[in-house]
């Protein structure tokens, strides 16, 4: 298996151990991704999308632990690696951009210093050479007057520019995988488009794989090859972007699609929000995690976990609606 995939997560279970008890953040997550692909992970906060992506670089909070399954990245068995070994990978083979560029940069160091640090950590370029590389990177991410920006502090830059700096830091060592954790959520709408455009451009130029974490289906539609929809620590639906957008199978995915505005439709009454609250992962439900909020919830949804239903190609979903359809069809035939 390994070698074939850049990211290969098998049956990963990850829990946070809190004073209130074990929070099962990920339940048997299986996810694969090849080099140069763009994968979108979609879900609401607490669905485990960030946790899944972070675990690829071994970044979990102190009380978080992989309790089962395996996580492989670029041939490394992440789940077995020590902090010291992980450090060699982080920022080098895999890097990340965070949601809020306002707080993700250290306020007391210059932009140049922070980019150069990432360069010198994993390459032979130190000191002035690292700074020269930092300047190149700023040019790469489309920041004008890079020479001047290098000497500036984060607070002197706008939000969009800071996110560009974050991208420059992430690209410092030309990683094979870039994880983007809601990279545009904290930005103005016009800046959002610019950042997405930049990421697309950089992907073309550098050919790295990207994992795009977002709750915004609009963001993934334009960029991603594949999409994984997560709910309550599980991947409930996975497929190509077309599969998800034109042939959604899971009730949650359908709900998500109903809740995004479409520009050609002027009837806003069709915007349907998903009612209710996400499940409490301290007490995960016995049945389908989405059942309490599902408008088509059936009795068995409350008591049984839906199995994977495989569709065309890679597309699969975990929803009993398929079983119902099959059942009715068979009965009708009978």
């Amino acid at each position: 298996m390994s070698g074939q995939y850049l990211v290969d997560i098998q049956e990963e279970r990850l829990s946070f151990f809190t004073p209130a008890g074990e929070v099962k953040a990920l339940n048997n997550v299986t996810l694969q991704m090849r080099e140069g692909e763009v994968l979108g992970i979609v879900g609401e906060s607490g669905s485990g999308k960030s946790v899944t992506a972070y675990s690829i670089m071994g970044l979990t909070a102190q009380n978080g632990k992989i309790v089962g399954g395996s996580v492989e990245f670029n041939g490394h068995k992440i789940h077995e690696m020590s902090e010291k070994e992980l450090r060699k990978i982080r920022g080098n083979e895999v890097s990340i951009i965070f949601q809020d560029p306002m707080t993700s940069l250290n306020p007391v160091w210059t932009v140049g210093n922070q980019i150069a640090e990432a360069v010198s950590l994993h390459t032979d370029k130190k000191g002035r050479a690292a700074m020269a590389r930092a300047k190149e990177l700023l040019e790469l991410v489309g920041i004008n007057e890079p020479e001047k920006r290098l000497k500036q502090y984060p607070h002197e830059l706008s939000g969009g520019m800071r996110q560009r700096v974050m991208i420059a830091i992430a690209l410092a060592c030309e990683p094979k995988l870039l994880i983007a954790d809601e990279p545009t959520t904290a930005l103005d709408v016009t800046i959002q488009a610019q950042i997405l455009e930049l990421m697309q451009e950089l992907k073309q130029k550098l050919g790295m794989g990207i994992i795009m974490i977002t709750h915004d289906l609009g963001v993934v539609a334009s960029m991603c090859d594949y999409i994984a929809v997560m709910y309550a620590g599980e991947i409930v639906e996975y497929g190509t972007t077309d599969d998800i957008f034109y042939n959604p199978k899971h009730e949650y995915t359908k709900g998500l699609l109903r809740s995004i505005p479409k520009f050609h439709e002027h009837d806003y009454s069709k915007l349907v929000p998903i009612e209710g609250q996400p499940v409490d992962l301290l007490n995960p439900p016995k049945g389908c995690g989405f059942a309490p909020r599902c408008s088509n919830c059936m009795k068995l949804c409350l008591t049984h976990k839906p199995e994977k239903n495989q569709y065309e190609g890679v597309h699969y979903a975990r929803c009993f609606m398929q079983q119902k359809e099959d059942f009715l069809k068979e009965r009708g035939e009978a």
């Binding site: 670089m57 970044l59 902090e83 992980l86 450090r87 060699k88 990978i89 982080r90 920022g91 080098n92 890097s95 990340i96 965070f98 809020d100 707080t103 993700s104 940069l105 250290n106 306020p107 007391v108 160091w109 640090e117 990432a118 950590l121 994993h122 502090y153 607070h155 002197e156 974050m166 830091i169």
Partner: protein, 305 residues
């Protein structure tokens, strides 16, 4: 940055001026004015005294005379110590206090900050809990208690250290430790919570994602940010050391400005009280200005304001 410093300097000037003015007028609420002791004297002697200290002049004129005097470093004559000016007394006593206070400051900064940082880094472990307990208790101990406990242990029981005066290096130990105790624990607490705050910041996660070592993450990314609130405490710390010295110098019988101030209070040597108050207030205000400037150097964000 120059604009910021200028702004702070002007503020300090205004504050110093206000403190001096307030001191003058408050002191004039004392019956007979600040320059006379309230002993019964003959009317002639009274008039002579008033003339000597300029008290026969209108209040506002007295005020301007006093203020111009201050600008020249002249705080008038001490009442209890005949023939000596307040400035002379401050000049001989202040260096003694400054030495003890300075040593205490160094001790507090050099132990408080590392202790707080170590505790934060070992959050929830034994060393952290120990430090939290110690520092919580430490900031609840009045200095007269801590210094007498020190004397009781090291002088009365163990007979290791002298308890009075400042004769040799040994005699500095107890007063400096007693004076530094409160600020040390206060700083440790401040540093700990500031460090914990910084360690939860997003940029620390960024550093980790870059592959920075723990050592470098702490020393390059966390410490400089965590130390900022501690720097702002340096101003109040100085004031605390100054006022702490009133008690410490009294207990350890140190001939500094603190004990001089206390005895001038009990003997009602008003010119001395006024002079010392204004001198110390201006000193603290100037030190606060330096702290503000230091802060601006460490925190690049200040330049914006």
């Amino acid at each position: 940055m120059p604009k910021y410093i200028l702004k702070r300097a002007i503020m300090s000037l205004i504050t110093a001026f206000l403190v001096a003015t307030l001191t003058f007028f408050v002191m004039n609420m004392v019956p007979g004015g600040p320059f006379l002791s309230e002993k019964a004297v003959t009317p002639q002697a009274q008039a002579a005294m008033e003339a000597k200290y300029g008290l026969d002049k209108p209040l506002f004129q007295q005020y301007t005379t006093y203020m111009t005097g201050i600008l020249k470093g002249d705080f008038g004559l001490s009442i209890k110590k005949r023939g000596r000016t307040v400035s002379q007394i401050i000049g001989t006593k202040f260096p003694v206090s400054a030495k003890v206070g300075g040593l205490a400051l160094i001790l507090a900064v050099c132990t408080g900050i590392p202790l707080g940082a170590v505790a934060a880094f070992n959050r929830g472990k034994f060393i952290d809990n120990l430090l939290v307990v110690l520092s919580t208790a430490g900031i609840a101990i009045p200095s007269f208690l801590s210094s007498t406990i020190l004397i009781y242990i090291f002088t009365t029981k163990l007979k290791w250290l002298p308890s009075l005066g400042l004769k040799d290096a040994q005699s500095y130990i107890m007063p400096v430790v007693a004076l530094a105790l409160y600020p040390t624990f206060y700083m440790a607490r401040l540093m700990r919570s500031s460090m914990l705050d910084v360690m939860g910041q997003d940029y620390m996660r960024t550093a980790k994602a870059k592959g920075v070592t723990t050592f470098k993450a702490i020393f390059k990314h966390a410490l400089r940010n965590a130390i900022l609130p501690v720097i702002t405490y340096l101003g109040p710390l100085l004031a605390a050391l100054m006022t702490g010295s009133f008690i410490i110098e009294k207990i350890f019988n140190i001939p500094g400005l603190g004990s001089e101030f206390v005895s001038s209070i009990t003997s009602r040597d008003y010119p001395m009280i006024m002079g010392t108050t204004i001198f110390l207030a201006v000193f603290i205000i100037i030190m606060n200005l330096f702290v503000d400037i230091a802060y601006a150097i460490v925190d690049p964000r200040i330049k914006l304001k």
